[in-house]
């Protein structure tokens, strides 16, 4: 069984199959890309993994234990970190508070190992070059800065599995490089990452493996090169090729 193991997970809302018997494993330290057209169920799968939705069938195991029925906060405490499509930052709180509240939410044993929280907050902000804005409201940040802050926060909170939902969406091209640098950092630190992305070259650069979702089903799985060359992907994204 993998580090994260998804078995026959389905979700039906009002008789509509949004996810249909999805199964795959993610190994520890692996960076896996999850791609697919709009509305194929990628974000919904993340919501099932982080516990905001309950599957109508199937099971989810994380580090060998069944988490299918755990609440979102319990899953987070077990080490699952989520980066949201629309920036999971509290805009009415200061940058400092945004990090502090995440550190304070850790389980007691983990909190004891952190040492000085103020110092850690400062280090996290410094990591993404925002230490000068510590006392500013997070709502004033640009999309790119919010994304960097969110990823750095998740990293410093000692999460082991990262669910990144379109980390480059809403980020200026100039900062995309910085975001992918931070994701590379995750990889270097041996973190396990599951990443939703529409930018295929980006996926190709950082992922060890790619899973393609279409209308709620896993239709393809392989290395980035294998997936890129496959005909199915062309069909899913651009329709059938008229020249063949």
């Amino acid at each position: 069984m993998g580090f994260l193991s998804i078995r026959e997970v389905s979700l039906a809302i009002q008789g509509h199959m949004i996810l249909d018997h999805v199964s795959f494993d993610v190994n520890q330290g692996e960076v896996v890309g999850l791609i697919g057209p709009n509305g194929s169920g990628k974000t919904t799968l993340f919501n099932l993994l982080s516990g905001f939705l309950a599957p109508t069938g199937g099971s989810i195991h994380f580090r060998g234990s069944d988490i299918t029925n755990c609440s979102p906060s319990v899953r987070a405490q077990k080490g699952i970190g989520r980066v949201f499509q629309n920036f999971g930052i509290f805009r009415d709180m200061t940058l400092e508070e945004n990090i502090l509240v995440a550190l304070e939410a850790l389980p007691h044993e983990q909190k004891k190992l952190l040492g000085d929280m103020k110092f850690l907050v400062h280090r996290t902000l410094a990591m993404v070059g925002l230490e000068k804005s510590a006392k500013k409201k997070a709502g004033a940040l640009s999309g790119g800065q919010m994304r960097l802050l969110e990823i750095a926060r998740t990293l410093k909170c000692g999460k082991d599995l990262f669910l990144l939902d379109e980390p480059t969406a809403g980020v200026s091209p100039k900062m995309t490089g910085q975001v992918s640098g931070l994701i590379a950092e995750l990889k270097r630190e041996g973190k396990t990452v599951l990443i939703i992305e529409h930018d295929l070259p980006f996926i190709g650069r950082i992922c060890d493996r790619v899973i393609v979702l279409d209308v709620g089903k896993v239709v393809l799985e392989g290395t980035p090169d294998e997936v890129k060359q496959s005909k199915e992907l062309q069909e899913i994204y651009f329709g059938a090729d008229p020249t063949t």
């Binding site: 906060s73 949201f84 709180m93």
Partner: protein, 285 residues
């Protein structure tokens, strides 16, 4: 002078319940209107057991505390199961049911007449010492809530109110945090429920009727939801207005409707002015 003393005393007496409600409704954005219901369920068991059933004060206090905490837990439980609109309506129902029990279970509560002869400790018999006692007790309570508000708990509550999914994805348990918030509000309701009947020497159901809830909401909304200093300031000003109306040369038949009209307008204005701070933003993920 005696009017000023009265004004200070009644304002301070209301602060614990208002500050507690501000934590849940203002800061936590938990859309409920059950604070005065909590106060009924704190004050009635407390005073009835002491005055009508001759229990020791400590027993009455314990009973009031247990009853208030159970009621707070019930409201918290409802808040986890209902959407905001449903909770709003349900919490009003809880309040009105408690009020109805009090009004109709006459053999125990003496119904609309209320319970007269609420005792004060002998050293609090004159109004000046009572006022000093109230100021000290309420200050201690407010400092406690203020510290709580600035602690990790306050940050978690704010994070949950801004976006519960984002907060939960960090490992913040909505249940734990919200239950604590409701328990603090119940503590405030109990303190107000201990002090108000002592001040009036009377436990009267009219002090727990729906207009009392509207007043509490108004203090929190006008003071900027979530801001403790704002709630305290708004309570002081609105209380001054409410009690000051009595000094105007109006016949008693006119004062009532004028006060209702005035406070209705203030509430309307406050809700309109604070509409952005009052309701949580639309959730996107």
């Amino acid at each position: 002078m005696s009017f000023l003393l009265h004004l200070i005393t009644v304002t301070c007496i209301l602060l614990p319940t208002i500050v507690g409600y501000n934590l849940v409704f203002g800061k936590g954005k938990i859309f409920h209107f059950g604070q005065i219901g909590l106060q009924i369920l704190a004050a009635y068991p407390l005073w009835i057991s002491i005055v009508l059933f001759d229990q020791y004060p400590i027993m009455g206090l314990l009973l009031g505390l247990i009853s208030a905490f159970v009621a707070a837990w019930l409201l918290a439980w409802l808040s986890f199961r209902l959407d905001p609109d449903g909770l709003g309506v349900m919490s009003i129902a809880v309040h009105l049911s408690a009020l109805n029990v009090v009004l109709n279970w006459q053999s125990v509560t003496r119904g609309a007449l209320g319970v007269p002869g609420i005792p004060r400790w002998s050293f609090l018999a004159d109004n000046v010492s009572f006022a000093i006692f109230v100021i000290v007790a309420v200050s201690v309570w407010c400092v406690f809530v203020w510290l709580l508000d600035r602690s990790a708990f306050g940050r978690k509550l704010q994070a949950l109110s801004e976006h519960d999914w984002y907060a939960e994805a960090l490992g913040i348990s909505r249940k734990n945090v919200h239950i604590v918030a409701f328990l603090v509000a119940a503590g405030g309701a109990l303190l107000t429920g201990v002090l108000l009947p002592q001040y009036l020497y009377l436990l009267s159901p009219t002090d727990f009727a729906f207009p009392a809830m509207i007043f509490v909401v108004m203090c929190v909304v006008a003071g900027k939801p979530g801001s403790m200093g704002g709630a305290i300031l708004a309570t002081a000003l609105l209380m001054m207005l409410k009690e000051g109306l009595r000094l105007l040369p109006l016949s008693p038949g006119v004062v009532g409707p004028v006060r209702l009209l005035l406070f209705g307008l203030i509430l309307l204005g406050a809700v309109w002015y604070r509409r952005d701070a009052l309701f949580p933003p639309q959730r996107e993920i």
